[in-house]
């Protein structure tokens, strides 16, 4: 197979994965809406009668709306279809990323296009790994949505033909440092989606209006814990990514830390997520405030990715654009 064909196959796989993801997105949306409607019926009707039989039960047992939703067959089936399609899309995207790597004869994260592809794969992988341990069909819609956004940006705005690397990138550290960063980006994306859902759900719980689509989410406490666990996994990995980047920088540029904009924003991201971990252990900062901090951490991660690569004069400007 000629090199050009490989590149074309890679592109086709990426487009196919996007197409499958769009179908998954629809399935998750149907599941969300269907289960939401159903849960809405059960949750709203007793509301006027505040001491009604279903009212306290729904409140005392936060599992109730979710388990009620699980009974809903149409939402359940759509959610399962969404999960299956996500697995399929992830496989196809993996093929696309691997083909790109074979074509370029190096790891497939040499420019922003490839990094976005691999990061999308990372987001999906983290989501699917979490899904092996618990039912996260409620998370499908935002996760697949943001993955599609990332892939869409990749194929439209960020696409580059770039084949080879500049000498500064030819290093084993490219494999180690960037793959750690990619996995972190995927994990932080998933945790941020969960945190946004947590804020939504938490607000509903505080106002005591858990009905409609928000009722199909797990209770706020569980969302918070799940987001925390993913961040607790990603934070040491991010620390490692920063350390390995410093080792590489020492070898390539003669200093391990030079406050290059990329390094600075990696540091800011690290500090903000460190703040999140501390906030979670501090009275008065748990819950919503900690959640806002973790979203700030994600914002700084995105500034580092888009802002520094595209708009700032940095040693790390590898976008290939």
């Amino acid at each position: 197979m000629s090199a050009t064909t490989l590149a074309q196959w890679s592109n086709m796989a990426v487009y196919a994965a996007m197409f499958i993801l769009i179908m998954a997105l629809v399935a998750f949306a149907v599941s969300f809406a269907a289960r939401g409607r159903r849960a809405g019926v059960t949750a709203t009707s007793p509301q006027p009668v505040s001491v009604g039989a279903a009212g306290p039960m729904a409140k005392d047992n936060p599992e109730a709306p979710a388990s009620a939703a699980v009974i809903d067959e149409s939402g359940r089936r759509a959610g399962n279809i969404g999960m299956s399609l996500t697995w399929l899309a992830t496989g196809v995207l993996l093929v696309g990323v691997v083909l790109r790597g074979i074509w370029a004869e190096r790891v497939p994260w040499g420019n922003m296009y490839e990094f976005s592809l691999t990061m999308s794969l990372g987001i999906l992988a983290v989501f699917l790994i979490v899904s092996l341990q618990r039912d996260v069909r409620w998370l499908g819609l935002p996760v697949v949505g943001i993955t599609l956004l990332s892939l869409g940006l990749a194929v439209t705005v960020l696409y580059t033909e770039a084949a080879q690397l500049v000498p500064a990138l030819k290093s084993w550290w490219l494999v180690i440092h960037v793959s750690a960063a990619v996995i972190c980006a995927g994990a932080f994306t998933v945790s941020t989606m969960i945190t946004l859902l947590y804020l939504w759900r938490d607000r509903a719980e505080r106002r005591d209006v858990v009905r409609g689509m928000v009722a199909k989410l797990p209770d706020a406490q569980r969302l918070d814990t799940l987001a925390y666990r993913i961040i607790a996994f990603a934070f040491p990995l991010w620390t490692f990514a920063v350390i390995s980047g410093a080792i590489w920088a020492e070898n390539a540029w003669g200093r391990y830390w030079g406050w290059d904009p990329k390094e600075t924003w990696a540091f800011i991201t690290w500090v903000v997520y460190a703040g999140y971990l501390h906030a979670r252990a501090t009275a008065g900062w748990r819950g919503r405030r900690a959640a806002y901090i973790s979203i700030l951490g994600y914002v700084s991660l995105m500034i580092n990715y888009f802002g520094v690569n595209l708009f700032v004069n940095s040693l790390h400007s590898y976008s290939g654009m």
């Binding site: 080879q164 020492e250 003669g254 200093r255 252990a281 700084s300 520094v308």
Partner: protein, 513 residues
């Protein structure tokens, strides 16, 4: 700075008196809330340095910025915004943060040391409302059950305490150990960075192909060292740049992007030592005598043979031209004060020459496919005797008169007007620029960072938990066994531990629950 500092109340007003105030200030500083605020201040304080140009990385852009912003430029400069990471206010934030960290970690270390030597507290009276509660009956006597429980738990590395009718066990002390290790390692990291800054040095030098460099202060184009470095005592190595290889992308959308840099050098590790041939690449610095030599840039030095009015050769060497863009449109200067009359030449070197109306002469590809020089010759006072230090890359033409302009291809000669002399573009050489650095803090910094990472992982992944067994004789003569646990880190599931305990108690025997 660390976890489980719960139950903090809103800060009370500071008490009267110096001692009281200091105690109050110290409590405030070491509180988690203030630590959090300092963390955010640190994040925010870091931002300007990524937006504004910094003296440490790009002093030229700093000057441009100040020039273009006459109102804000000087003001920001005064408050250190072009040197953010060396600014007093930035240092104040991180130093306060570290003081807060130490103030938090020290008492916690003492608490933890005590905890490590103490036994787990007694089991609660009733276990049935606790996490993972299970009740079983056992045919053994209560003492036998407790014995089996404590033996089994000890064997699985639980810390066990036994009392009247109960066994309490705790595990996961490594969580707090890791937490403390992480924070102590951060302090060590800061000290390593400071140590490197005090005792380290770095310099930049441009070496033309075929020439050499020896590590003394005068040979550097730029050199900076920490406060405690003796610049007269640099490691006495030397090297010559024998050959510099470079390749550029010729196809694809990234045409002109570098694909290979390689400097072949002969290294003399110390005076009189055997020389050895080495190759320096990007990502592959040369390590010699405690210093590292990095390849950081390269460019062209056109050989311009300059003769004066008497026909004497006043320059016959390659002249270092500095690249101005990615295609190596380069500028440089020849100063010939000994020529009669004194001559100065400004030049533009184009490895692949092109001329258009908008950009004037410029290069379209970084490799020397079609090289040309565009020269401007001057005569008069070069200003070298004025005592003001001059850049060797700039010609001060204030007291000079222009003789003319000419462009030359390789091998061509320009006879200056009125028989004042000539310039011959005889050939092209390359130069490479090296950064030579010595940072004695980097190994301790790496070790500290790895310890911090290890401690961080322990503090996030190890779960601190307790399990209890309570026994009481039942009416039937069997023993009623209650087990339950408590997760002391709020993010995890206790069930595996209780299951482990139940397995210990029921090992090899039928269970009745």
């Amino acid at each position: 700075m660390t976890q489980t500092m719960t139950g903090e109340k809103a800060a009370p007003l500071p008490p009267m008196g110096t001692g009281g105030f200091l105690r109050w200030a110290w409590r405030q500083l070491t509180s988690m809330r203030v630590a959090l605020i300092l963390l955010f201040l640190l994040a925010i304080a870091s931002i300007p340095g990524s937006v504004l140009p910094q003296n440490g990385t790009d002093p030229v852009r700093v000057d441009d910025w100040i020039e273009n912003n006459p109102t804000w430029g000087p003001l920001l400069e005064r408050f250190g915004f072009f040197d953010v990471y060396a600014a007093p206010w930035f240092a104040a934030v991180y130093l306060l943060l570290f003081v807060s960290l130490i103030g938090c970690v020290l008492p916690r270390s003492l608490t933890h040391l005590r905890a490590l030597r103490s036994v787990p507290p007694a089991a609660p009276r009733r276990l049935d409302r606790l996490a993972g509660f299970q009740s079983m009956t056992d045919s053994r006597s209560p003492d036998e059950v407790l014995e089996a429980a404590s033996e089994g738990l000890r064997g699985r590395r639980w810390r066990v305490a036994r009392g009247d009718g109960w066994v309490a066990a705790e595990k996961g002390y490594l969580r707090e150990t890791g937490n403390l290790l992480f924070h102590v390692a951060l302090v060590a990291l800061l000290i390593s960075v400071a140590y490197g800054a005090l005792f380290g040095w770095r310099g930049n030098v441009i070496v033309r192909q075929g020439t050499g460099f020896s590590d003394t202060l005068t040979q550097y184009d730029a050199w900076g060292g920490g406060r405690l470095v003796n610049p007269d005592n640099l490691p006495p190595f030397a090297f010559t740049l024998d050959e510099f290889l470079v390749e550029f992308e010729r196809d694809s959308s990234q045409r002109g992007a570098p694909r290979l840099f390689e400097a072949n050098v002969t290294v003399y590790p110390s005076p009189g030592a055997e020389s050895e041939a080495q190759t320096i690449r990007v990502n592959e610095p040369l390590v010699v005598d405690g210093a590292k030599v990095f390849l950081v840039g390269h460019g062209y030095s056109p050989v311009l043979i300059v003769r004066d009015a008497l026909g004497r050769v006043v320059n016959d060497q390659g002249v270092v031209f500095l690249p101005q863009d990615g295609n190596f449109t380069s500028t440089g200067v020849v100063k010939a004060p000994d020529a009669r009359p004194a001559l100065g030449i400004q030049g533009l070197f184009l490895p692949t020459a092109a001329v258009d109306e908008i950009r004037g002469p410029h290069s379209t590809f970084p490799a020397p496919d079609d090289p040309a020089v565009f020269l401007s010759a001057w005569t008069g006072d070069l200003g070298l005797d004025s005592g003001v230090p001059q850049s060797i890359y700039r010609l001060d033409t204030a007291n000079m008169t222009q003789l003319g302009l000419e462009s030359l291809r390789q091998g061509q000669t320009w006879d200056l007007p009125e028989g004042i002399g000539s310039v011959e573009f005889a050939g092209i050489e390359r130069w490479a620029s090296f950064q030579i650095a010595h940072d004695p803090g980097k190994e301790p910094a790496l070790i500290s960072a790895m310890l911090a990472l290890g401690g961080l992982m322990l503090s996030l992944f190890v779960r601190r938990r307790r399990v209890w067994v309570r026994v009481s004789p039942s009416e039937t003569g069997d023993t009623v066994v209650h087990v339950a646990g408590l997760m002391r880190s709020d993010d995890a599931d206790l069930q595996p531990d209780v299951t482990e305990l139940v397995d210990i108690l029921t090992e090899g025997r039928p269970v009745s629950r």
